[in-house]
Amino acid sequence: MKKKWILFLGLTSFVFLLSSCGLKQSGQSITAVGSSALQPLVEAAGDRYTAENAGEFINVQGGGSGTGLSQIQAGSVEIGNSDLYAEQKSGIDATHLVDHKVAVVGVTPVINKDIPVKNLSTDQLAQIFSGDITNWKKVGGHDQKIVIINRAQGSGTRDTFERWVMKGRSTMQAQEQDSTGMVRQIVASTPGAISYMAFPYVDKTVKTINVDNVAPEDKNVQTNKWQIWSYEHMYTNGQPTGLTARFMTYILSDKIQREIVASMGYIPVKDMKVSRTLAGKVEAIK
């Protein structure tokens, strides 16, 4: 009887010990929460930062752009990652949030490999996603039904795609998936499927198409010839201070932008030849 109690108490205290190990790192730490598209990038940069600055930790969590923005607004984390401008998200008061654009990511339509279509106009794309064109025959493919795969409502990728392709037209209700990985697998295995995803996720299992005869490549995004792209934002509540400020400078430094941002398929902000405002106004950067 006694032994059992000792075992029980020992186990409980062991569990507490373990959990406090996770919490009590000796040193400072900040937390960045939000967009799953941005998560791998921030994680990689955070690991690098900790390696170079012992005792300073960057905790990175996913959860989606909505989570990132609401957490940073509530002040419960130091950095909120988002694919969208905070102003675009309903329920967010953006006045106190400071935007740090850390990278640019292009979004491209992807189709199943067996569809022979190579190019679509923006208008044709919009008609496909609004449900006006339902057969690949009409846009130069075989006689095959179009299967639309959407991302979940409120997803950053979907917002980007709808903003620059649909331009105000509403998309038809169709299949929705909550992760790019699922979208890729479904497009790869479903005949006649079309969807969209960020450049870093495109691989050999799916096929990209040109839009208005522009290829989905980084260099076309840099000049805004490829219009379907968005900034990746890291929001702070007010001007960042201390570790947060140091980390923001670090992630925007040439070294990280060159080595980590570019190698993960994102486009470094400094490579952009144009800038685009929230309202969509494009200006050349001198």
Partner: protein, 309 residues
């Protein structure tokens, strides 16, 4: 002097009674914590879920019968488009269809395990069924995505995503639960019933069909309802194969969605306190109420069964 010693030792708390007090305290504390957790979950979900109706002034009837779900946009009259009917229909259809398919298999397996070949049943079937219970739902979903969906696509056409695929996946998921509960129900039938039936000259099949199954009917129904409540709450596996289109299902192979799949997809993408977030909480409230109804149903069936025997 001597008397006093006895008095003291009699009035002093014995070890056993101390232990008992301790035991009462510990179990009381545990129960209080559990009740507290349950109550606060209910309060939290209800307060968030009801905000849609009280704060955002969404009509409850429209919420339950509307067919357009688009929390971020408003319709021509300026009302938010919150129609949960497609998800409600989706959830109920996969649940009922899965239960309808699973029930005969579960009863068959249970009869085999208890009446026909208890030894083989205990040695082979029981471990297999227990193994099925332990498989995580994401594994079922993945198998569904890579096997069931293409299978349905080839056999029935369409994209393969839809209620039919969801039904197949759920059928396998609830089968072990329903089977093992049915086994318990059959085992609970008194041995005397079987002996009496056989003594009257009934064959084994007649005994099973006319006596054992009839006597355990309330237990079997409880098992099925239990399986249904599990199917109703399953999120991940269904989400992977049903297609998640917020459309009223036209047929079994057109993409549909369930309450759970909409919840898991939408939570990370909406902001706490906004209408689209509150609407998701309302769905969660619906999901919380449904198992409650299932539970009440189970108790009611149990009472009815008890009265008859």
């Amino acid at each position: 002097m001597n008397n006093d010693e006895i008095r003291v030792s009699l009035l002093k708390r014995s070890r056993a009674s101390k232990n008992e007090r301790w035991g009462k305290l510990i179990s009381g504390a545990c129960i209080t914590i559990i009740i507290g957790v349950v109550v606060s979950i209910f309060y939290f979900v209800a307060s968030k879920g009801l905000a849609t109706f009280f704060e955002d002034k969404v009509n409850l009837w429209k919420f339950l019968t509307g067919t357009v779900w688009n929390p971020s946009a408003k319709d021509a009259q300026g009302n938010p488009q919150l129609g949960a009917l497609p998800m409600i229909v989706g959830s109920f259809s996969v649940t009922f269809l899965a239960a309808i398919i699973a029930t005969p298999f579960a009863i068959g397996a249970a009869v085999f395990m208890t009446e026909i070949s208890p030894r083989l049943g205990k040695k082979v079937l029981q471990p297999v069924i227990e193994l099925l219970v332990g498989i995580p739902s994401v594994v079922y979903g993945f198998i569904g995505l890579s096997v069931v969906v293409p299978f349905v696509r080839h056999l029935f056409g369409g994209s393969g995503f839809g209620i039919l695929s969801g039904t197949f996946v759920l059928f396998v998921m609830i089968l072990p639960t329903v089977t093992s509960m049915t086994v318990d129900a059959l085992n609970a039938v008194p041995r005397a019933y079987r002996e009496a039936s056989l003594a009257l000259g009934a064959t084994r099949w007649q005994t099973i069909y006319k006596v054992v199954l009839r006597a355990s009917i309330s237990g079997i129904i409880t098992a099925v309802v239990f399986g249904m409540s599990r199917a109703f709450g399953e999120a991940l596996a269904v989400q992977m194969v049903i297609g998640n289109a917020m459309l009223l299902p036209q047929n079994l192979i057109s993409p549909a969605s369930t309450l759970t799949s909409v919840l898991t997809m939408g939570m990370g993408n909406s902001v706490m306190g906004s209408l689209s977030n509150n609407a998701l909480w309302s769905l969660a409230l619906l999901l919380l109420i449904m198992p409650l109804i299932f539970n009440i149903l189970i108790r009611w069936i149990g009472k009815k069964g008890a009265m008859r025997s």
